[in-house]
Every structure is written in structure tokens, then in C-alpha cells.
């Protein structure tokens, strides 16, 4: 097995280290041998990414969270196989992660939910203040951290966060859930140049051709499946493969 670090740093297998002895470790270990359609070479390649933004604890929480949002199964890659955690970690070091897009000036008003986001948190704040609160709440209830819960337990917690019935502070659970879900789907479906959608696995699963860009010959092939595999806008993804 060759080991490669995408961010050019030392070959430290952050996730493997943190996976030891965890429930997630069992899931993820299996994942590494999951035969990726059309990417058999890649299936044998060990994946290593060292998070820059997330601490090891947060990385465990994030990984075990997105693993339930988009689980691995026979339909196609799960969020972990798609390298969604790497995507999210990398996004946190972009202007977006720092909240530079959003209007974050006070004061806060009590308003109808229909007026949209009314917090002063940046995406980084949501994770950095949300995950420790989640950790405490889960420790209190289960006596073990989130990533050590089994899949059904994690699903129950995530479901409570989705409804907002799990009380977290200062980042409400519904907000944290929404942020993770949004970033998770972004990482799953975005072009692989951003670190997720590994080998365009999600695009292959749904049949999205990515940056093909010219459908002049197919626009009036009515009802016929588009035959070409996806391409990425980045050099690494262009090889495609069916």
C-alpha cells in the first residue's frame, strides 16, 4: 500500500491513528477495501489526510457524523470514501470558512425563521463551538464520545439535531446539523479539485458528467442515456473511467 498526503505534509495517517479501537474504525477499515467501481487501483491505495483546521477529536466527530449522513453501501460511495471530511477541513481555510461572505454585524434580532440565518457565527465558529458542545452532551448521556456510538445511536442523535430537540449551546443543534449536512453534500458532489467526491465517485453513481461542457450532439438524443463518464475541472480527475 502506498501512502500519499494530499496537503504535501508529513505522511501521518491522522485518521488511522484516531480510528484505533473505535466503532468507526471498523466501518472505515471495511471501506478501504470496498471495491470502487472503475477505480480498482485506487481501492488499494491507502488514504491519508491530516486535518489542518479540525483537532483530532473534532475530526473523529466530523468523520463519524458524515459517515451517517451519507453512508457507504452498495449504491455507491459513502461520505468517507468520497473524502468529505477532507473537503470540509479544506473549506474551513478558505474565505468562506472564515465567514467572509456573510453579513455578521450585530445586533441580533428575534425574528421569524423565514428571514434566514440570524447568528454571528462563521462556519469555523459553528464547528469549533458546536462540536465540543455536542461532545459534552453525548458524554453526559452515553458516557462515551459520539464516534464510539453505533450507527443507530448516531442516527438517533443526528435526527434529534435535525429537529432541534437536542439542546446545545451556544450553537443550537439544528444549526450545527444544517452546517454539517450542507458541507457534507457539497463535499460529496463538488468537483474533486476541492478535496471531496473522490475520483468523481458520487458523479459516477448518479450519472452526472461534470465538466463535459458540450452536449450539442446529445441534446436531441431524446431519452437516451449519456454514454461518457464524468470529467473534473482539475488535472487529477480528468482521466474519468467508467
Amino acid at each position: 500500500m502506498s501512502v500519499r498526503s494530499r496537503n504535501g505534509g508529513a505522511l501521518i495517517c491522522g485518521r488511522r491513528a484516531m480510528l484505533q479501537g473505535t466503532a468507526l474504525g471498523l466501518v472505515a477499515a471495511a471501506l478501504f477495501h470496498f471495491p470502487l467501481e472503475g477505480a480498482s487501483e485506487a481501492a488499494d491505495r491507502e488514504y491519508a489526510y491530516r486535518p489542518v483546521f479540525f483537532s483530532d477529536d473534532e475530526w473523529q466527530t466530523l468523520s463519524s457524523f458524515v459517515d451517517r449522513l451519507i453512508p457507504a453501501d452498495a449504491e455507491g460511495p459513502g461520505a468517507l470514501e468520497a473524502h468529505v471530511p477532507e473537503f470540509i477541513d479544506r473549506q474551513m481555510n478558505t474565505p468562506y470558512g472564515h465567514g467572509s461572505e456573510w453579513y455578521l454585524r450585530p445586533p441580533l434580532m428575534k425574528t421569524s425563521a423565514t428571514l434566514g440565518y440570524q447568528f454571528l457565527f462563521t462556519p469555523r465558529d459553528i464547528y469549533k463551538q458546536g462540536f465540543p458542545a455536542l461532545h459534552s452532551a453525548i458524554m453526559q448521556r452515553y458516557g462515551k464520545p459520539f464516534h464510539q456510538l453505533d450507527a443507530g445511536e448516531r442516527d438517533r442523535i443526528i435526527g434529534q439535531m435535525e429537529k432541534g430537540s437536542l439542546t446545545l449551546s451556544p450553537v443550537p443543534s439544528k444549526l450545527l446539523f444544517g452546517q454539517v449536512l450542507k458541507n457534507c453534500k457539497e463535499g460529496y458532489f463538488a468537483d474533486p479539485i476541492h478535496g471531496g467526491n473522490y475520483e468523481m465517485g458520487a458523479w459516477k453513481m448518479i450519472g452526472f458528467p461534470g465538466a463535459r461542457a458540450d452536449f450539442t450532439d446529445w441534446v436531441d438524443r431524446y431519452g437516451v442515456r449519456y454514454p461518457l463518464p464524468p470529467v473534473s475541472v482539475g488535472v487529477h480527475g480528468v482521466q474519468g473511467g467508467v
Binding site: 451519507i70 453501501d73 425574528t111 421569524s112 453534500k185 458532489f189 479539485i193 448518479i206 449519456y226
Partner: protein
Amino acid sequence: MVSRNEKHTDVVIVGFGWVGAIMARELTQAGLNVVALERGPRRDTWPEGAYPSSIDELTHNTRHALFLQPSQSTVTVRHRDSDVAAPYRQLAAFLPGTGVGGAGLHWSGCHWRISPVELRLRSHYEERYGKDFIPQDMTIQDWGVSYEELEPHFAFAESVFGTSGQAYKVNGKIVGDGNPFDADRSTPFPLPAMKNTYSAELYSKAAAECGYHPFRIPSANASQAYTNPYGCQMGACTFCGFCSGYACYNYSKASPNVNILPALERESRFELRAECDVLKVETDSSGKKATGVIYRTSKGEEVRQTADIVILASFAYNNPYLLLLSGIGQPYDPKTGEGTVGRNFVYQNESGVTLFFGQDKFTNPFIGAGGNGVAIDDFNADNFDHGPLGFVGGAPIWVNQAGSKPISSAAVPKGTPQWGAHWKKAVKDNFQHTISIHAHGTNMAFRDCYLSLDPTYSDTAGRPLLRITFNWHDNDVKMIRYVTDRMADIGRAMKPESMSVETKEFGEEFDLRHYQTTHIAGGAIMGTSPKDSVVNRYLQHWDVSNLFVIGSSAFPQGIGYNPTGIVAALAYWSAKAIRERYLKSPGPMVQA
């Protein structure tokens, strides 16, 4: 503090989107020196549109690379006067543009004219349905300009945009299977209609079976190579599916950058200054004459640019915003109904139906073009009898397959969870097998929907934010529910396995959390009297006659079609009046 004065110019234009580019072209041709000030950066097909980085969904659609970020400037929103407004902190419901080309660089390309009755909406409804038909609090009115007056400008704008379409009637003669509800045209479209996608073809057939009149949407995505009257060139659209939110890599989508700027750049009388954010319009001591503008550069320097003519050509609500910041005209007061600046703020009132066909039928929704598709106008404008229905307005209904991308538009049947194995399977099972139909409905103007300055929030430059007070009214909910039922009938005739319907409920609040459309209008409306409009029929300010305020801000109420076509025609109409009348005898072109 103004730190320096720029050399005086004949004309200063605020904002360089479609209106700015058209006015700059027309007025330099008239021999005037023109300075255009654009808040955002320089942008063009290269590098913003360069393939392949230009068609990256995350960067452009999700992270809004080409849009005005709320951190730089935003608005506040509330539903009613008694509420406190809160800032629009994250882009969602609408996406204001910025930069050279404005929203014209990253629009879709649906390029419409207008139904003649919509230009005299109040008169028309009163004549056909009686004065009592229009609710008391509905402040709709006539535009003060007729379709016949605008027709040559629609025709010329289409020649500039390289619009693809099929005409129905040219000079009174039926010429093809275009929209039978269209008004007469003086010219056919400059390019033939685009090819139909499978979805548009299926929709067209089903709509005809239902007794309606399908036609191909006029599209500013070129169906073949084209050179416009300015000598600017376009390439044939390849249906890449990345229009709205993206700069076209292929020179196929009309934009100020592709279709006008190359001609302007050869013009010595024209100067474009990017990253110049106009703070206010200055007037002389009489308040009747604009003397120029003050703007802030990217270095934070405040500069005065004096000019004989000032043209506001910025995004929809930024025109009235600048008037409010500059203290020009009387701000609208919903309690008394007096004042005009900010009055009749409107939006677009939409609904949709998604059809799921199952795995054997490949609709390939990732193929697309922003202006492509098939529509029916049977329920738009006053093409149907409103008498028994009891509402004002309508909607074109269309399949406008602009290209589904997986982050933003992986449709799943209603009731599917948001996450987990079921969600994943639903996305997989449906991505290549869906068709969306939309109703792009009118939004009428109401007494309590308006723009004003926010008392609490400010932007990075210290300006108070613009405050939007807006909510849906029963008239518009009634309309969209009626039209949605007709749309669902067509959907069922397309024989999907299942169908999801998104419509509005009575009492539903305006919801900013989900993208609807950036078709915002009103607030500095045109009309026949200074009592109820900001500008006259030539888009000239009633009180400050050397100030022109042009854009969708001039719409007295919402229209059924996308706004760009009528905005471009209004700009050419105003430019003609300036060239042929105003320059010979500066002063009000309409006596109040």
C-alpha cells in the same frame, strides 16, 4: 471626506450591467464623453468564464464567486411595518450581481419582450373587469409607455443580444409556430430557435394535448455563430448547463461583456472605472440639478466626479437606495401613501412541479442552456379571463432546462429524508430521470411593500442598509395556486411515475431561506405623474431633470416574464429620448 475631484465629464453612469453598457454605447455615439463607475471588479469571458474552471459548481453557484457578498453590502428584510427588520446575512432567496457586466454576465438568458397589456395594467383591468376588481391596497399602475413605442427598441436589443427564437407574427403576418399571444413584431428573431431538450419536447406535446399553445422561449444563448450590429461576435451554445451564476466560457450567452464592451473599448470618449462604489448623487443648492456623484475607490479614497448628466443603472433596488441615500425625492410613506422613493417594491411569484420518471427514461437534465425551453402563455398577462377567478396577474409556465448540477439541484421525491441511505438512493435513482416545470408568476404592487433606509444596520462604508418591507398577499397566492393547478395538469399529461408540487399557501410568509429568483423590481418606478412615480416615461427624474434612473427599479409592478428584455428596451428608449430631445433642449421632457 472627498480627497480629490476627477475631471468633469458629460455623462456619469452608476453601475455597468446591461443598462450601463447600453447607455454608454448610445451616448458616446451621440458624441458625449462618458464615465462609467462599477462597484465590483473587472470581469470578462477571460478569466472569469475560462473553461474549465468557470464551470465549477461549488465556486460559482454555491460560494457565489460572481455575486455581491452580503459582507460587503446587503439589505434588511421584514414582512410588515410593525416588525423589526433583520439583515439578509447569507445569500439565498435572491443573488445580486456585482462587477463589470453586472448580473448580465451571469444571468440565464431568457430574453422576453412584454405583453402590451402589462404596460397599462391598471387601465386594462379597469376597462375589462371594472374599477372595483382591483383591491384597494393594490397600487398597480400604468407605465406611461406603450408596446408600440418600445417595439423598435425590443427589436434592436434582440439584434444586439443575438437572440434565438421563433416569431409568431411579423408586421401583421403569421410567420411560424411562435407564441400566438405575442404582440406584433417588426422583425423576426436574429437567430433561429435553439434545439429543444427532451424535457421541453415532452412538455410541448403534453401542453398541446391539454389545449394550450406551446412555443420556444426566446433565448439570448446563441443557436449558431452570430455577429451583432456592434461587430461583437458570439459562438453557438453547446448546452453545457452552466448559465445562471456562471460566465459563459463559449461567448454564447449574451452579456454586456461579450455583446457591447468590445465595441465600447474602441471608443475614446468612454472610460470604465471598476471598483468604484458610488456613495451618493450630489445636487446643487436648488435640489433640481444633479452635479455628479461621490464614489469610494478600492483604496478607500473618496472621489467626486462631476457630470452634466447622471444615470443610475445599478441593480434593481440599488437605484432607489442611492436616491434615498442622496436625499433626492420624497421617501414613500405607506401610512399616508405619500412620497414615491421606495414605493411599489415587487418580486417574482413562483411555483414549480417536479416530475419523476423512473429509471428507464433518461431525461438527462444536466444538459441545458439558461434561456432554452418551451413555455405556454395561456395563463400569463390577461390571456385568460380573470373575471370569475378574482385575481390580478398570471404566469408563463415553462420547462426551462438550464442544466441540473448535483449540489444545487439533485431533486428527490417529496417525503424523502434529507440524509442517510434513503436520501442517497433517491438521488441516485432520480438524478437522470426528472423534469421540472415552473410558473414564473407576477407579483402585484401593494401599499405596504416598499423600500426605506434601515435605522439599525449599516455596511462597511457606514451607510445605513436598505430595508425591504415585503410579504405575499392573497391576490398573488390565489393566482399562483390557480396557475399551479394548470401546470400540474400538464405535468400529469407527461405521465411521470410521481410528481412533487411546490406552491404557496395563504398566509405564507416571504421566505428568504431558499433561492427563488433575483427578479426584483420597483422602488423608483416610472409613470405618468410625479405624485405616484419617481421618473417619467423617459426614465427621467421628475424633479431633477438631468438625472435618469433606469432598470427594473422602474417597473410599477411585477411582470410575468424575466426582466432583462424590457430593461434593455427601456434603456434604448430612454437613450433615444436623451439623444433626440434632451440634448437639444435640456430640461424636463414631460411637464408635471
